[in-house]
Amino acid sequence: MLAVFLWSGLQIAMAQGRPVKGQVLDDKGEGIPGASVQVKGTTVGTITDVDGNFSLEVPDDQNTLVINAIGFASQEVLAGDGDNALSVRLTTTNTQLTETVVTAQAIRREKRSLGYSTTQIGSDELTQGGSISPINSLTGKVAGVNITSTSNTPGASSRIVLRGGSSLTGNNQALIVVDGVIINNNNVGTTGNIGNLSNQVDYGNRGNDINPDDIESVTVLKGPAATALYGSKGSNGAIMITTKKGKRREGISKTEIEFNTSYTVSSILKFPDFQNEYGQGNIYEGIFDDRRENFSWGEPFNNQLRPWGQIIDGQQRVKPYSALPDNVRNFFDYGKAWNNNIAINGGTENTAFRLSLNALNSTSIFPGKDYNKYSVNFNGNADLSNKFYASISVNYSKINSDLPGFGQGDASIIDNLYQTPRDIPIRELRDLNNKFNSMEYLDENGVSTYGFYGAYAKNPYWTLENFTNRNKVDRVYGNVTFGYKPLEWLRIEDRIAVDAYSDRRYQSAAKLNSVAADHSLTWLDQTSPGRYSEHLINVGNIYNDLMITASKNFANDFNATVLLGHNIQQERTDATYSSTNEDGGLVVPGFYDLSNSNGKNLAINGNTLIRRVGIYLDASLGYRNMLFLGFSGRNDWSSTVEKSYFYPSVNASFVFSELFPETLRNGIWNYGKLRASYGRVGNDAPAYQWYQTYGAAVLNGDFGSTIFPFTGVPGFTYNNRVYNPNLKPEFSSEFEIGTEQSFFNDRIRLDFAYYSKRSEDQIVPVSLPFSSGFTSIIVNAGLVTNKGIELSARFVPVRTRSVRWELFGTFTKNTNLVEEIYPGTNQIAVGNAINGMSVVAAVGKPYGTFFTNAYQRTPDGRIIVDSVSGIPLKTSGSQLFGTYLPKWQASWGTSVAYKGFSLYVLFDMKKGGQFFSRTRDIMAFVGTSEETGNRDAQIWPNSVYLGSDGQYHTNTTEYQPYFFYTSQASRPGEYQLVDASFVKLREARLSYNVPAKWLNHTPFGNLSVGVFGNNLFLWTPDENKYSDPELNSNGASNLQGFEFSASPSVRSWGFNLKLTF
C-alpha cells in the first residue's frame, strides 16, 4: 500500500510540463519569502525563496496557480505558457480579523466572535521542539496553563491544569478533546500495598498517547463558558486538538507523502549535589573500615590504596580511597529515541483522506529499559449524493515498554544509587558474572551467595535485570460522523465516538536469598521475597452526539447560529489487580506467575460504569461583525446523582476597533476587542457513592496485614466510607473579562484576561476521625476559589523582506484558596501520607499544602534544641507549610527567521511553591549529600533551649551533624521541604528550510532539517541541591510536589528532518 502511494507520488511530481517562473510580492512591492505556490488541483508546488522568487514545472494540462502566504489573502493566477515571469501581488489580511479557532464540539468559530479566552497553537510550534508528548509541547506557550512535565521521558506522565485546581479530590486536569470527541486522559496508579510506597512506576497518562505529528492545531479553552457543552467533563477547561486531514483537490485523485524523522538523545537534567570528602564507613560508631556499609560516614578521603568489598576465595579488590564525583552519573546511559512518521494524504473533489503511521523507539537512561510506541491514524471524509456527508477517524496505538521502578526499596534504582558511598565505582559493578559484583552465585556447596560489596544495598545492575515493569497498551479511538444538509443553512449530524484501551501491567521482582561470600565480618544475608503482579485495566467509553445546527444571516446586519444537541455517554472501566502475596513473595525464584505465590494471592476488582444523558443548546448572534453574543445551556442526567441538573453560560464580544476610522485601524491601532463571559458547570459524583457495602477483610498493621480467609475462615468487614444517596451535583462558576489588541501593523499583540472561579458544594470524601468508625464521608461540601490574571504578548521588532524577529511571553498569576470544607474538618488529604508527610487541602490555605511536623520554635521564631545533644526538637503534631502551587509563572522567548533559517528559544519559570524531597532525606541519612560534608560539631544557628526555669536561653551546645542526619526520626518532616522555584530553558531549536529552487529537480516538494533541544537547562534556588522540582512520584494525580525518590527528569536534544514528496 505504502509503496503504491509512494510510486504514484513520484510519478505525479515528475510528470512532464513546462517551466514557469515568477515572484510573489506584498502590497509594498517587496518579495514574500516562504509563500506556497501550487498548481491548482495537483500536488505540484513550491515555496518562494527569500526574495519571493519561485520556479516550477507546470503540467501541460494545468494552467492555474494558487498562491498562499501567512498574513495574506490567497490568490489564484494563470500560469501562462512559461515564457514570461509572473509577478503576483498579495494583499495583507489582518490575521486577527479572520483567525478562526476550534471551540466546543469541534465547531470552528471566528476568534473575534468569542467572549472568552482562547489560544491556538499550530502544528510546527508543537512538533519542531522534538517533544513526543503533546501536553509537554504546550509548556510555556499559553498563559494560564500549568503543565508539570515530571520526568519528560517518553511515556512519562504530565499534568495540565488550567487556571488552578478547584476540585478538592476529583480531577483537576483539563479535558482533552480530539476532533470534538473526549479522549481519555487517565493516569491510573498501580495499587497494592507496596505499589504505592516501594515500587513506583510511572505508567504515564493516556492523553500522551496522541501522536503530535498528527496534530494540525491545539486550542486551549480555559473557562467553563467555553466548555459548558462538554458538561461536567469540561469543568476544568479543555485542550481541543484538531488532527490533520486530507486535502480536497479538484480534478483527479492526487496524493502527497510527508515524512518526518527525529533522533533524540537524553540525559539527566539535574543530579543532587554530593559531598566528596568522606567515603564508605561509619566512624561515629567506632567502625573505621566497614566494607558492608552504604553509609558515607567514614574517614576523610586520603587517596591511599585500600581494599574494598568482600574477601572471596581469599581475594579482595583494592582501590584508592578517594572520591568519585561522577560515580552516580556514570551509572546512566544516554537515552535515545527515534521517532519516525510517514503520512499520506490525498483527495478528490468530494473525498479526502490522510493515513499516518508512526513509530517511536526509545531506550531509557536506565540501562536496558525501553519504551516503544506505534500508531496508525486514518481520517477520511466524503460528500455523498443527496446532501449527505460522512467522515471517519480511527486511531490505533500500541505501547510496549519496560519501565524503571522508583520510590523506596529494592526496586528503586535511584534510591539505591543516591545512597552509594562516594568512593564506590558503580559502573564497575556492571559485570554480574564477576563474583565480586554478583548477588546470587552458587558457592562450592551449592549455596546461593553474594559477593557484592554492600550488605544493605543490592547491585543496581542486578536490580535492572531482575526487576521488570512491563507495560502493554492497545488503544483505539475514533469516530464516525454522518451528516445531512437539507438546506444551505441547516445541518443535522450524528457522531458516534469510541475510546477503548487495554492497559496491562506486569511487575516482576526477583526472589533472593543469598548469604555473604565473606565471613570476616558479620555480613547480613541478602533477602528479598520477590513478587509478581498483574494490573489489567480495560476502559471502553462511548459517546454519541446528535446535533442540529442552523446558521443564517438576516436583516442584513445580523448573523445567528443555533446548535441543538443530544448526548449519550457511557464510561466503563474493568480493572483487576492481582499479585502474589505481598509479604510472602514467590515460591520458586525466577518464575513469574500468579500461581507462584507464597501465601494468599491478593486480588482487587475495580469495575465501574457511569452513564449520562444530556441535551444542550448553543446559540450565538452577531451584529455587523462587531458585536457578538453567545449563550449555551445544558441539562444532564447522570447515573451517579439522582436529580438532573442544568447549567448555562453567556459570553459577549465587542470588536470596538470596528468603530475606529480606517486610518487608525490600518495604522497604529489595528484591532481591539473586549470580551466577557460567565459560565457555570455542573458535575456528577464518582460511581457507587450511594450505598454502604462490605468487603473481604484485610486488616492492616503498620506494615504487614492479615488477609481473609484467615486459616480457612472467611471474613468480611464493614467498609470505611459513609455513603450518601442524597448527593447533589456540584457546581463551579467562573467569570472572565479580557481584551485582545493589536498595534503598529500587527507588530504588537496583547491578550489579557482576569478571571474569578468558585467551585462549591463539591462532591468530596471528607476525612472523618477514625473514632467515628469511618475514615470518610461523601458529602456536598467545600468551596475553593481561584482568581487570576493571564497576560500574553507578542512583539515583532524587525520585519523586513528577509528577517523576521519576534519576542513573546506570557505571565500567569493564579491565587487559589480553600475557603470551606466541612464542619469539623479543617483539611482533606490530597494524597496518602508517607514518611509523616501529607499533601492536604486545608481551610484558609491554597490547595496542595504540605502537612507535617516541624522544628519546635519559640514565638519569635528561634529554633528550640535539646539542651543535651544540641539537636533541634520537633513538634509531635503536624503543621501546615507551603503549597506545591507556584505563586506565579511566566514564559518568554524569541524567534528569528532569516532566509530559510529559523531559530526559536523558549524559557519558562515558576516562582514559589515547595516540594517534598525524599532525596534530601535519604542522602542526609547516608551522608552523601553536599550538606553532610560539613561534619564538625557546631551550634544550630539562632537556637535556644528551654531551661529548668521555664525560660528560653541562647543555646551554646554544639551538636554532632552525624546524629542529626542519621536519626531520621529526630528530623521533622519540615526538613524535607524545598523551594520549588525554577527557570528552565524549555525549548531551543534551529531549522533550515531548503529553498524550493534546490529541490526543483528532485522528487521532493519541501525539505527541512533542524536541531532541537528541550528541557536544556535548569536554574533553581541555592536551597535546592536535590532535584528538578517538577519531579513527582504520583504522576499526573492531584498529589504533586512529592518527590519520593522519583524518576529524574531529562534534558534532550536531537535533530529532525521533514520532507514531502
Partner: protein, 487 residues
C-alpha cells in the same frame, strides 16, 4: 422569533422529555459490583476478632514490650528509635487507635445491630467491644465512647468521654454481654476464632475481663473495684483456668502470619530484626535463673547478650544481641515466629489477677496458690518441663510469695511475676500494670530519652483526630498520666 420557537425549542422540549424519562433505566447502574451489599454476622465476627489481635499482637505488642523494657531498638536500624527516645510521633501509634475504631469496634457494632435472633453473636460482640475499648482508653486516656462509631448516623465529630465514663461503660457492656449468653440460642462455630462457640468459656472470659477492668481501678476507685469483684465471685462462673486462654492462632502463610512477625517480614521491612533483648529483663531473668529466658529470647552463640535500654548509639553490631524468640513471634529469621499465637487474655494473667484480688481482700482464695499456679501455667504453656518449673519455684527470689508480708509486698511479687510471664506476649498489658502499680521497680530511663528523667505513660492521639474532630480536646504529652494511673 416565532420561527425559532417552533423549529428549535419544540424539538428541544421533546428530546428533553425523552431523555428525562426514557433513560431512567439506562442510568440505573449505580450499584457497586466490587463490594457486597450485605453479609451475615458469621462473616463479621472472625474479622473483628482477628482485628483486635492484629493490634494487640502487632503495634501494641511493640510499644508495650519496648516500654516494658523487654525489648529495645537494635543499633544498626532505626524503625523504633522514637519509642526509645520517648517521643513517638502522633502518627506512630495511630494504628493502635485507627484500626480498632474503624475495624474491630465498627464490625462488632454491626454484629450487635444485625444479630437478631442470633443473640449469642451480639453477646460476644458486646464482651469484645468492652475488651477493645479498654485497650484504647488504657493507652490514650479519654476517648470517644458514647458517640463513637456513629459516622453513618450523622455523628461525624464524636465527643470525647472521660476515661471514668468509658470504664463504667465497658463494665456495663461486658456484664450485659456475659448475661446474655444463652445456651438455647445458636452458638458460633469455626467463625469464632477464639473459643469456637464455647459459651461457657465466653462467660469465664467475660468474668476474667471484668476482673482485669476492676483491678485497673485499684488505685483510682478501690471501692468500686472491690464491690465489682465481689459481684463477679457471686456469679459462680469463675475465671479462666488452665487451657482456657483466649488466643488466636496463626499459620506460616503470608497474610496469616502472627502480626508481629508480619510487621517484620514483609516486602518493606524485609525481615530486618529491629527489636533485640533489653538488658532490664535479661539481667533480672539471669539473676533469677529464670528458664523462660530461653523461651522468650533467642540467644546468640548460646549467650543472652542484651543491650541497655535505648543504647542504640553503640558500636556493637546488632547481630551480637539476643532477639525475641519465635514463641512470641519476635524472631524475624525463624519461620516458627509466624505461628506464634496472639494471647488476648491468658490463664496465668487470670491467676495473677485473682491472686492480687485475694491479697487485697476483695476475693476469697489462697493468694500464694494462685500466684504459683500463675507461674506454672505460664511456664507450661511455653513448654517448660516440670523440672525447670520446680527448680525455679524453689529457688527464684521472684517465685517466693511473701505470704507473711504486707499486702504491698504481695502485690509487688504478683505484678513483677506477671511482668516476667508477659514478656513479649502481652507487652501492652505489662506496661499498663507497671503504670498502675509501679512494678517492677527496676526499670531504667532509656539512654535515648528525649524527655529527660521521666518515663512515658501514655500514647499521643493521632493527627486524624486533631484535624478532623471538632470535639478534639487537645494533644497530650507522653508524660501526662491517664485517669486510673493514680500512684
Amino acid at each position: 422569533m416565532k420561527y425559532i420557537m417552533n423549529k428549535l425549542l419544540f424539538p428541544l422540549v421533546v428530546v428533553g422529555v425523552v431523555a428525562g424519562t426514557g433513560c431512567k433505566k439506562f442510568r440505573d447502574v449505580n450499584v457497586d459490583p466490587n463490594n457486597a451489599a450485605d453479609v451475615s454476622v458469621e462473616l463479621l465476627l472472625p474479622a473483628a476478632q482477628a482485628d483486635i489481635a492484629q493490634v494487640y499482637g502487632g503495634k501494641l505488642q511493640i510499644i508495650g514490650s519496648v516500654w516494658s523494657q523487654y525489648w529495645t531498638q537494635n543499633p544498626n536500624a532505626s524503625q523504633y528509635r522514637e519509642l526509645d527516645q520517648y517521643q513517638p510521633d502522633a502518627s506512630f501509634a495511630s494504628n493502635a487507635w485507627d484500626e480498632p475504631y474503624s475495624g474491630a469496634l465498627k464490625d462488632l457494632d454491626q454484629i450487635i445491630k444485625k444479630a437478631g435472633t442470633k443473640t449469642n453473636y451480639a453477646a460476644i460482640a458486646k464482651i469484645l467491644k468492652g475488651y477493645t475499648y479498654q485497650l484504647i482508653t488504657d493507652q490514650f486516656g479519654d476517648a470517644p465512647f458514647t458517640e463513637a462509631l456513629k459516622g453513618d448516623e450523622g455523628i461525624t465529630s464524636p465527643k470525647y468521654d472521660s476515661q471514668e465514663t468509658i470504664y463504667n461503660g465497658i463494665i456495663a457492656l461486658v456484664t450485659e454481654g456475659r448475661d446474655e449468653l444463652n445456651g438455647e440460642s445458636a452458638a458460633p462455630g469455626s467463625d469464632d476464632l477464639i473459643y469456637h462457640g464455647d459459651l461457657a468459656l465466653w462467660q469465664k472470659f467475660a468474668n476474667t475481663l471484668l476482673l482485669k477492668i476492676y483491678m485497673r481501678l485499684s488505685e483510682r476507685n478501690p471501692s468500686l473495684a472491690q464491690s465489682g469483684i465481689a459481684a463477679l465471685e457471686a456469679t459462680e462462673i469463675g475465671f479462666l483456668d488452665e487451657g482456657e486462654g483466649a488466643e488466636i492462632h496463626y499459620i506460616n502463610e503470608a497474610g496469616n502470619f502472627n502480626p508481629l512477625y508480619s510487621e517484620m517480614n514483609n516486602a518493606v521491612i524485609g525481615g530486618i530484626q529491629n527489636l533485640i533483648a533489653s538488658k532490664t529483663v535479661i539481667d533480672s531473668m539471669l539473676s533469677n535463673e529464670d528458664p523462660r529466658i530461653g523461651v522468650f529470647f533467642t540467644p546468640v552463640g548460646g549467650n543472652f547478650v542484651a543491650l541497655e535500654q535505648g543504647f542504640f548509639n553503640t558500636s556493637s553490631p546488632a547481630a551480637s544481641y539476643a532477639t525475641p524468640s519465635p514463641a512470641v513471634g519476635g524472631d524475624a529469621d525463624q519461620d516458627a515466629s509466624a505461628e506464634a499465637p496472639v494471647k488476648l487474655l491468658t490463664t496465668y494473667e487470670s491467676q495473677f489477677l485473682q491472686a492480687e484480688a485475694v491479697a487485697r481482700g476483695w476475693l476469697t482464695g489462697d493468694a500464694a496458690e494462685l500466684f504459683t499456679k500463675g507461674i506454672i501455667f505460664n511456664m507450661s504453656e511455653y513448654g517448660l518441663g516440670e523440672e525447670d518449673i520446680t527448680t525455679y519455684l524453689d529457688n527464684a527470689y521472684w517465685a517466693q510469695f511473701p505470704t507473711s508480708g504486707t499486702t504491698e509486698d504481695q502485690i509487688r511479687h504478683i505484678i513483677t511475676q506477671k511482668w516476667f510471664s508477659m514478656c513479649g506476649n502481652q507487652g501492652i498489658e505489662a506496661w499498663s500494670e507497671w503504670r498502675r502499680t509501679g512494678y517492677p521497680e527496676f526499670f531504667t530511663i532509656s539512654r535515648a530519652s528525649r524527655i529527660g528523667n521521666q518515663f512515658p505513660v501514655r500514647l499521643p492521639y493521632p493527627d486524624d483526630e486533631s484535624s478532623n474532630n471538632l470535639n478534639f480536646p487537645g494533644q497530650k504529652l507522653v508524660t501526662d498520666k491517664v485517669w486510673w494511673d493514680a500512684n
